[in-house]
Symmetry: C2
Subunit: 401 residues, 2 copies
Amino acid sequence: MLQVLALDEARALLLRKIKKANKKTDRLALPDALGRILAEDVKANDDLPSFNRSAVDGFAVSARDTFGASAALPALLRLAGEVKMGERAELSLNADECAAVWTGGELPHGADAMVMLEDAETLPGGLVAVESPAAPGRHIVFRGDDGKEGETLLCASTRLSAREIGLLAAFGVTQIEVRRRPRVHILSTGDELIDPAETPQNAQIRDCNGPMLTAACEQAGADARFLGRVPDDEQTLLNEMRSAAENCDLLLLSGGSSAGAKDAAVRCLSSLGEVFFHGLALKPGKPTLAGEIDEMPVIGLPGHPAAAYLVFHAMVRPLIFALSGAMLQERTTKAALTEAVPSNHGREELLLVRLDGEQAIPIHAKSGLVSPMTQADGYVRIPRETEGLPKGARVEVILFD
Amino acid sequence: MLQVLALDEARALLLRKIKKANKKTDRLALPDALGRILAEDVKANDDLPSFNRSAVDGFAVSARDTFGASAALPALLRLAGEVKMGERAELSLNADECAAVWTGGELPHGADAMVMLEDAETLPGGLVAVESPAAPGRHIVFRGDDGKEGETLLCASTRLSAREIGLLAAFGVTQIEVRRRPRVHILSTGDELIDPAETPQNAQIRDCNGPMLTAACEQAGADARFLGRVPDDEQTLLNEMRSAAENCDLLLLSGGSSAGAKDAAVRCLSSLGEVFFHGLALKPGKPTLAGEIDEMPVIGLPGHPAAAYLVFHAMVRPLIFALSGAMLQERTTKAALTEAVPSNHGREELLLVRLDGEQAIPIHAKSGLVSPMTQADGYVRIPRETEGLPKGARVEVILFD
């Protein structure tokens, strides 16, 4: 008899079993790396900024020359010149001198503060009147303020958003090593399945899980390839699984893992590799299967689309993040149940909910339907052996992508 | 004198001004449509399922034949046959008969409930013992339960996630009209800027805003093209802006909109089209500029990277969603400030914060730095004329992507 596991046990087991995580990397130009995962820490090659820089448009001053300045008695400074953008500040300030510097321009020697344009008045005769004292360091970005040579800018496993792209560009890091996206192969199983573009004959059913799971893997950061549909014939499935297991980091089977005549998948997995568990103590999601072929994880998801998607989100998605070398990103929000949820014995339940402000509305749907998924914003995990949740109970909703 | 607007006014003005929203569509195969925005409502061409279907592995029965069944006195039914997956249920049940049906299989005539395999016992002589009564409709998905012919499955403006891909596949919708992604052109301006791959000479600065804003537009769903860097020369900028304004839905300028010598951008915009406002009553983000050229919006963002990114997120991102025909998705979370925030007069402030559980830690950073952005998870909007927020105040954090 094969072991039935709780969701958390199953997830932990699969994460432990990743012995052969894909450590391959891609070296990418920065603009192509959006959304990818850093393969290594990135350190600063130089100080940034590489010079003391003004953060405003205005006048570079020696702060001491402005001490005591007021509207009644402004500090009068001689305008010694202007620092051109992008060029070295050639001039050096003497006492009671200032220089015009624009945002991003270099501070001249002898200056230790900036006075903003709007806080000064240019007078005839090359003089500038400063009406309030400037504190040393005011409006200046000093060399290395953004990062010093050798400092770690970003750690391995960071997912690169636009902000990290900006930081790397600022430091001149324009080629980076990112983790190669894990390759996931997806096989749908079932005699009744046809391509969604075909018209069902008799009691055929369009295979919606294939495209859905392929898209879900892509959303989770995988390089997902749908390999097609396999009938329930055990020998055919064995051959297809053997071939699908090559050159990938995770093999997903859809359907084919329920009890009855359709446990061909578990027999095939058992003959090609090892079965970790067959069955989750989860509602929906009982007919879930997992194991490995040559240290490569294989997961068989339930055939019911909502069950397949929920188990995908709760168990496969974290695995894809781990295979990607990324920290799991799971968005959650707190909400109040709009109705009581009955007590729950024997197995954990994943309850689809729709959010309306801070309320979570349970979605009651027959198993086997597809549409409830698109009405849901996420799900609530209801632990096994729960004495029911009252209306208004605050629950944590795990949000879909 | 050009008008200075508050953030909300500026955002509302820009959204009102979208007269010429890109209504072009792309016809895509379903797997290519992940993340795209539906251009039109999608209706069901047929009932789904197209036949009454079992949701479990088990026995199709007439519920009335099981009424009163118990462990002590099971209902004994004759197994009349098996419904093959994907084929029509040819048989028709007579009284006290049942048929084996697998999950997804068609219900035979005369059956109105399913008994799960585990709730029945197969006896010698072709008999099946059912130990508890089945309610009519139990474990059955009826024709049209997932959607009836002509029903709206998904509305225009829906963003397609894996779940919507699954739903459309189930209904056989494999070619769909999605909104064409808005084309955004990005120009960086500033004499001091160099390509991030180059080594700065003198006081040159690597242009990090160009790659950052390009990536941010992509993340927001745009087709973003970085057109390069333009020096502060007004005639050059005029020519570049005129050319950049062609064949796009939004033109973003980075830098070039601060006061002082660098308001070339506003003069160029004024001569090429119309200026809506020059200056936001926002900290950071004051030197923000907006207008239009031939009804195509043009926005000049501040040169400071964090200011540029914050104004992008608060004002440009909503515009890109609107140009995409999508509802704005803005993720927020409630958190408690870990320190007091001083009173705020004159202009609204966007405060970068890092989240630690349910706490929001303000990030104090000099303007002009890049690294604080990558330490932040989002920002808090602090309204103008606020008497300061005490430590522990619950604030809404707008989360970055």
